[in-house]
Chain length 168, copies 2
């Protein structure tokens, strides 16, 4: 293998808003709106004030979309989950410029805590979903019991609930 060019020199390949929209499945308007309400800050602006997005912006936008579409969070809730845009940005900067190992560890620890909170939030939602699924399964079992009842006892008296319903 020939020696790689140092990472610091590979241009980050910044994207303009339309490409980002295509990549993330969001509309340009939505992306601008998310910036408006503080969900993200584009990595840079061109001389002509064009928004320029980098890889981490794409990640973040995809995450936002997931939270919105898959998890069904409101943008306000998503804002809570990502809450710390400013702090994150500050930290990334400090991380890059800091040679202090302890500080680097602390910054990563902060990031970990944020991710842990996100995981906890997501798992709470999953738990509620699971409870709903269990409820639905219970309804399903109830219907099956009714069916079994029909098959089992020929009830000459059709009125309301024919099932005595023993605890299984």
């Amino acid at each position: 293998m020939p020696p790689k060019i140092p990472i610091a020199l590979t241009e980050p390949a910044l994207l303009r808003i339309q490409d980002v929209a295509a990549d993330t499945g969001l509309t340009t308007r939505a992306i601008r709106y998310y910036e408006e309400i503080g969900l993200l800050e584009p990595a840079a602006r061109s001389d002509g004030a064009y928004r320029l997005f980098d890889g981490s912006d794409l990640e973040r936008l995809r995450f936002i979309r997931s939270l919105r579409d898959d998890a069904g969070f409101s943008l306000a809730q998503i804002g809570q989950l990502l809450e710390d845009e400013a702090a994150r940005e500050r930290n990334r900067l400090r991380f890059r410029t800091s040679g202090d190992q302890a500080e680097r560890r602390a910054l990563i620890g902060d990031a970990s805590k944020r991710v842990d909170r996100q995981i906890a939030t997501l798992e709470a939602k999953r738990a509620r979903l699971d409870a709903m699924i269990e409820d639905a399964r219970a309804r399903r079992r109830h219907l099956d019991e009714h069916l079994a009842n029909l098959d089992g006892g020929p009830d000459p008296h059709p009125g309301g609930h024919p099932a005595p319903e023993r605890g299984r």
Copy 2:
């Protein structure tokens, strides 16, 4: 045990909208709105046109609230999930009046299919949520690796999170 009064004679105890609101955690306005957009039909009306709700209405409203708050569905999606209010009502009626076992079985079968579809929808959402959780866990692992890297390197300076935390 003294013989119970037949269930058919126990008055269903219909509730007015405010009590329903208190019981379900919804507002009266929301409940009326749900009726407006066809998510439910109150069991009855009083002589003076007061809405009167029975137990199954409560169940349904609680289910709607769960779908909205816990699962994060839009009312339109919820409408799809419950879609068949009219059919359901028709079926319940036919069920009560039908002595035909085969027909009763068919009606219950329909209900089962609906519940199965609900379960499938919920599980799909759960799967997407799980994927997101896994993503978050991956991010978390990534951060831990960074930490481990720092620890591995020459570092006489403890700080932040000292625990590598093996998966238990």
